[in-house]
Every structure is written in C-alpha cells, then in structure tokens.
Symmetry: C2
Subunit: 159 residues, 2 copies
C-alpha cells in the first residue's frame, strides 16, 4: 500500500457535513411536525427571499433543474405555502409567491437553521467563522461556475 489514503479531504468533509446536516434536519422535522422535507424548506426560503419569481429563475438560483423545483412547488402549493400565479407578461410562465401562512413555517425553518449553525460553530471564534463562511461562498461560486449556473454575488448579511 504505497498510496496514502486520506478521508479528511475537502470533498469527504463536505459530503459528511451535508449528510450530518440533512440527518439532523430530518430528525428535527420529525420531532417538531413541521411537515416539510429539507428540499421543500430550502425551496420555501429561496422563494421567500426572491419575492415574486418565475419558476425557471428560482430553479436556476437554487441550482436545480426546473422539474425538480416543480415537484417541490407542487407539495408546497398543496400545503398552501406558496401560490403559482400566471405571469401576465408571459402566459407560459408562473410567478411563485409565498402565502401568509408561510411566515410561521419560515420562522421555524430559520430557527432550526440557526440552531444547527450554533452547534456547527461550537468552539470556533466568531471572526474565524466569518472567514470560514466567506471561503465557503468562494468555493460554492467556484464550483457553480463551470456548471452553467450564474455566479452569485453574496448579497445578504452573512450568518
């Protein structure tokens, strides 16, 4: 065995972390009876942030295919958390908007997210965490770039 095998490289770490987050999220979702899967929650947050958007735009921002988004929206719409409104400017398109009922759910998602973040960041000092987040954004943009995905300028406040 001449080769050195390392399971602590970037790709492994990222994959592990994502799986741990998903598992934790699933557990909390089960406990709190929030009634949404991780993907649906992600969709809802993106929709909330985007305001009134076409599906194709939202899909591109989320980095998923139109069809994938369409399924998430089906379930969110069935639960009354988003609406699909025909775009007056293009009869092929829908505008996605969140409903008032979504507010409470968004609050729940955000507090779950904050709680996971706190656990993840334990023992890391705040300045280091900010640095870390900014590298994460760079990495995401690097990876998203040659995928046809539009580059994101980081707009909101970091957290």
């Amino acid at each position: 065995m001449a080769r050195k095998i390392d399971t602590d490289t970037f790709g492994f770490l990222a994959t592990d972390i994502s799986r741990l987050i998903r598992a934790d999220l699933d557990r909390r979702i089960g406990e709190t009876g929030i009634g949404l899967t991780a993907g649906e929650g992600r969709t809802l947050i993106h929709a909330a942030r985007a305001g009134s958007v076409r599906q194709n735009v939202l899909a591109e921002r989320m980095g998923v295919e139109a069809m994938t988004l369409s399924s998430f929206l089906d379930r969110l719409e069935a639960r009354g958390l988003v609406t699909r409104r025909p775009d007056p400017a293009d009869r092929r398109a829908n505008l996605i908007e969140i409903t008032e009922a979504a507010d409470a759910v968004i609050g729940d998602i955000q507090s779950m997210s904050a709680s996971i973040r706190h656990r993840a960041a334990r023992g890391i000092d705040p300045a280091e965490w900010e640095r870390f987040l900014s590298v994460l954004k760079t990495v995401r943009n690097n990876l998203a770039e040659q995928r046809g995905e539009p580059q994101r300028r980081s707009p909101g406040s970091a957290s």
Copy 2:
C-alpha cells in the same frame, strides 16, 4: 416582510456545495466510465484507509447505517474491488478488505477528488485553505458528536 431572509447561511452553503460536488462527480464518473457511484467510491476509500475492518466498524466510521454499507459492499464485491472474509474471531462478522484490482480505481478516485479540490480552491491562498479545512473538520466533529458517531481525531495529512 419584516424578516430578513438569507440563503447564504452555513447550512445552505454546505448543502449547495455538496450537491455541486456530487453533480460534478457524477459527470466525471459518466465520462471516465469508472463504473462506481459516489457512495461506492466513498466506501472504497474508507475501506482502503481502514485496512481489514468489520462492517459495523466501517459503517460507523463512515457515519452510515450497517445496512447502507452492506449494499455498497454488495456492489463493490460484485465488481471484485473488495472481499468479505469471515472474521476468525467472530463467526457473525466479516472482515472487509480491498483487492489488488481496487488500486487502479482508488487512484482514479483520488485524482478526481484532487481535481475537484483544485477547482474548489481557486483563488484561495494555500494558508487560508488549510485554515478552512481545519474549521471544516471541527464542524464535522461538532455535528457528528451528538449523533452517537465517534469523534474523529484528524489523522492524515490535510489536503
């Protein structure tokens, strides 16, 4: 909309990055005809690193259930990349070992992994990258902790 909505938080970034990595990996796997899925590849690398291990130990190290690992191993074994050898010390258990044929595949996986890493790290200076990796490890350990998963001391060389 009184709430500030941010899609650049830790959880979102981590999820995005993991999806991008997976997609990229899938694309490369398709191109190079390596014949393994991401999960199988991950299993193979962990097995290579572990030497001769019981399945339950390997599963725990990988952070998956025993059954999940069992399926991965079925496919790796069918491709002749690992063997299940009865553990002489416990007739319930198997010892997993990689075969010689696995060496080439491991090499391929490692170079894919390196290439993704290079792309991810573009524009980030090496010292910053090391810092970043070390925070990633802390985060993984933080998240893995209260999940029953054993804490990992970071053993190998970072990269």
